[in-house]
Structure formats: C-alpha cells, structure tokens
Amino acid sequence: MITIFYASALVALVATALAITRSNPVHGLLWFVVSLLAMGVIFYTMGAPFAAALEVIVYAGAIMVLFLFVIMMLSLDRAAAARERSWIARPVWVVPIILVALLGAELARVFLHGAPGASRVVSPQEVGVRLFTSDLAAVELASMLLLAGLVGAFHLGRKSP
C-alpha cells in the first residue's frame, strides 16, 4: 500500500508541476485531471474510499469537465498560445519561487516535528451518519452556498442589454 501511495504522490506532483507550466490551457487542465486521479488513489490508500470516489466522480468528472468545456468555448487560437509562451518564458518565476520556497521551508519545519499516529479505514457509512446528524446545519449552509453560486452565475451570464 505504501508503494502505491508513493507512486501516486509522484504522479500527482509531476502532473501538477506540468499543469501550472503549460502554455495551452487545455493541456494544463488535462494534466490537472491526471493529478486529481492520482489524488483519488492516494485517498483510497489512506483509508478514505468515499473521498476517493468523490474525488474522481465529482472533482475530476464534473467540476474539471465543466472547466474544460468553458475553455473550449473560449476558442483560444494559435496566437494566444504563442503570447502565452512569451509570458511564461520571461523570468516571472524567480520571485514567486523564492517566496514559495521560503513558505515551504517554514511549513516543512513545522510538519517534521509531529508524532506519527494510528490510522484506520473510515467507511462511507460513518461519513454519512456524521454528515446527516451532527453536521446537518453545515449541509444546509453548503446548499445555500451552491444556490448563491447558481444565482450569481445565472445573473452574470445573462446577455448584456
């Protein structure tokens, strides 16, 4: 199981690194989908099968495909890809890399001083029971959030007068 975890972690890291450095948005998004599928495997090896199914079905399957459809509606041409390549080629990466490396070093230092703990498989049944008993108010709030997103997207997406 640990070998599968490390292999999936490697796939997730490489795919994410490729996703944020592509010049073509569709290529970048497909790399990100690969990263999400690897993340689903990671969730499964960590004892969270329900989260693994959600990751593949909801995130990679629904949210990312919505993203992909909208990008295809944008109809970016070859000139856009060339312009994008010129943006990436410039040394814009230097300062962000320094800042992110600094933040990463700080956080890694915090994580290295933790103690290992016990683990077990958390079944979908436990998740469902907890979700619809003690966390019911949060479910209602989540539905309100989705409604707000729906109304907002509908309002912004109207044809302008």
């Binding site: 890291l13 944020i20 990263s35 969270a48 890399i97 290295l112 997103g149 729906l150």
Partner: protein
C-alpha cells in the same frame, strides 16, 4: 498503513505549487486552475488529518471543500467568459479597471 506526515507533506507541496502558479501566471485560466490546485491540497490536508485521528470529519470537510470549489469555479468561469467577450487576451493585467476602459 501510511504514516500521516507523508500525505500532509504532499498536501503542503501541492498547495505551494498552486500558490506558485497563482503568483507567476498571468493567464486567468491558469490562475483559476491554481486556485483549484490549492483547494484540492487543502482537501488532502483534511483527509490526512482524518487519517491521523481515525475520524470521518476529514471526509466531511472534503465534501464541503468540493462544494466551495464548485461554487467558486462556476462564478469564476462566468466572469472569465464575460471578460473574454470584452478583450481578446485573458490577461490579468488588462482586467484591472472593473469597468470599460476610458
């Protein structure tokens, strides 16, 4: 089983990759995607914490993170489409006026 610092560290690295993309890229499609990467890394952190304590709350929080990501992405993509209708390049530098250019 997997020791919990491993997925926690992975979540950290993925979050920083997302942050790097957010800081360095100018194309708004990639900015949105970097936000998704960071949200997903936060979800992995929740799952990792759930593994540490053997508790279903981590997976419940992941569901709410997905919920948030879906709502955020719907609004972000609509804004992207509106912006695209007005200017040819999805450059974040060109979208700093929030109104028609004078």
């Amino acid at each position: 089983m997997i020791p919990w610092p491993m997925p926690t560290g992975l979540a950290l690295v993925l979050f920083l990759l997302g942050l790097l993309g957010l800081l360095a890229r100018k194309n708004l499609v990639f900015v949105l995607m970097s936000i998704e990467i960071m949200l997903n890394a936060a979800g992995l952190l929740f799952i990792s914490a759930g593994l540490r304590w053997g508790d279903p709350d981590g997976q419940i929080m992941l569901i709410f993170v997905f919920n948030l990501a879906g709502a955020e992405l719907a609004l972000g993509l609509v804004l992207l489409l509106r912006l695209r209708a007005r200017q040819p390049a999805l450059d974040s530098d060109d979208a700093n006026l929030l109104r028609d250019a004078p």
